[in-house]
């Protein structure tokens, strides 16, 4: 009987550690990424090999599973933010100021989605700002306020729930800097203004 108990415990250990750990870690690496496949700049995270034919298996699986069609990361960076600059989850109960400063020369676009990549319904029918459409401050900065209720200036409306901000930057120089481990000049900041 004690031997039977030991066998059960060993089989359970194999199931939990082997199957759970193996599949769980694969799921995490494919969905959230790791230092092997992603790079973070403050709250922004990008998949380094997104869209590239020589992408690593984690990036390829991430692209395939999430129905993405990224442009190669050697030309364009797609950066995702799920937290603000302090590390707190982005949520529609709070207002945020995204300040874009120093992305001169690059084409950029900032859009708000829900966590699954769906657009968030709003009365203003507005879902993104770009380097062409955002109004600038006198000093050249573009401040985009992500909030549920209307705000003056560049207001990016969001509904209920958690938010993912997606920044697309088309600039081969900055893309090269991301790949070589350098810093990217002018990454936008995300500052919480307040919560309800």
């Amino acid at each position: 009987m004690p031997r039977f108990g030991k066998l059960i415990v060993n089989l359970a250990a194999i199931a939990v550690l082997g199957i759970g750990g193996g599949l769980g870690s694969a799921w995490y690496m494919v969905e959230a990424g790791s230092r092997l496949s992603t790079r973070s700049f403050g709250p922004w995270t990008t998949w380094l090999a997104a869209g590239r034919p020589d992408a690593d298996p984690y990036t390829r699986a991430h692209t395939a599973r999430n129905a993405l069609l990224p442009i190669t990361s050697t030309l364009e960076l797609t950066l995702y933010a799920k937290t603000d600059g302090e590390g707190a989850q982005l949520q529609s109960a709070c207002d945020y100021a995204v300040t874009v400063e120093g992305l001169e020369g690059a084409w950029w676009n900032l859009a708000a989605f829900d966590r699954r990549g769906g657009l968030i319904p709003n009365g203003a029918d507005r879902y993104a700002f770009s380097s062409d459409s955002a109004m600038r401050e006198p000093d050249g900065r573009a401040v985009i306020v992500v909030a549920r209720d209307a705000r003056p200036g560049n207001w990016l409306p969001v509904g209920a729930g958690k938010i993912t901000l997606v920044l697309t930057v088309q600039d081969a120089v900055r893309a090269a800097a991301a790949h070589t481990g350098g810093s990217i000049k002018g990454m936008p900041t995300i500052r919480k203004i307040g919560c309800r």
Partner: protein, 220 residues
């Protein structure tokens, strides 16, 4: 000779105090019985199994078939026809995380019958023409230039036919003005992204995308 200093009397409880390290060791709870039943061979086997499953699951996702994006678009788009898609609305998105303030011209190409010709204008910065395999690999991209319209003319050929030697005799070779792009897969997607600067630019973007073509065969 100095007088001998009196030794201070230690309190009665002092000798009973064990050193700190010993106390910590004594406080650590013993491993639960079930944990002691797991042999090192089991632990090693579980780790190996976990590693194999980890690699297997990661590697097989792209090998199971085309990416979800291509699967979705294959059902919606006819082959070798450019379809213009208006800016996305909530609940009416083609794919997750696509730029919402942009028109898209999408052509699902198939090289089964012949090469595919593309002609497309790129009006401004942010515009792109990109070619993707069913797995989502972006094997060719060309961005638009600031305040300058670029009229592109490309021919997509199967990967093995990039060399003129391998081109079937019945097929006309592309003209020198047409760039020839070798596709690593027989099918794929041509995507023209046309970001909107604002509502006033909708007409311009629509008109430009309506000129975009994706046709089987090389133009003669």
């Amino acid at each position: 000779m100095n007088p001998r200093l009196p030794t201070p009397m230690l309190p009665e409880r002092w000798p009973n105090l064990a050193p700190a390290a010993l106390r910590i060791r004594a406080a650590r709870p013993p491993a639960p019985g079930w944990l002691r039943k797991i042999g090192w061979r089991t632990a090693l086997g579980a780790l190996l199994l976990g590693g194999i499953l980890h690699l297997g699951a990661t590697l097989t996702v792209p090998l199971l078939g085309p990416g979800l994006a291509y699967q979705k678009l294959r059902e919606l788009l006819p082959a070798n026809t450019m379809v213009v898609v208006a800016p996305a609305q909530p609940g009416k998105q083609l794919l997750p995380f696509l730029l919402p303030d942009a028109y898209y011209g999408i052509c699902r190409y198939s090289l089964a019958g012949d090469a595919v010709s593309i002609s497309a204008p790129l009006l401004d910065l942010g515009w792109t023409l990109s070619l993707h395999t069913p797995h989502g690999d972006n094997f060719y991209v060309i961005p638009g230039q600031q305040l300058r319209t670029t009229d592109l003319s490309l021919v997509i050929v199967p990967g093995a036919e990039k060399s003129g030697d391998l081109m079937p005799a019945t097929r006309r070779a592309p003209t020198p003005s047409e760039d020839q792009i070798a596709s690593p897969s027989e099918e794929g997607l041509i995507i023209i992204r046309a970001p909107l600067k604002g509502l006033a630019w909708k007409g311009e973007a629509e008109a430009a995308l309506s000129r975009a073509k994706c046709t089987p065969g090389v133009k003669s």
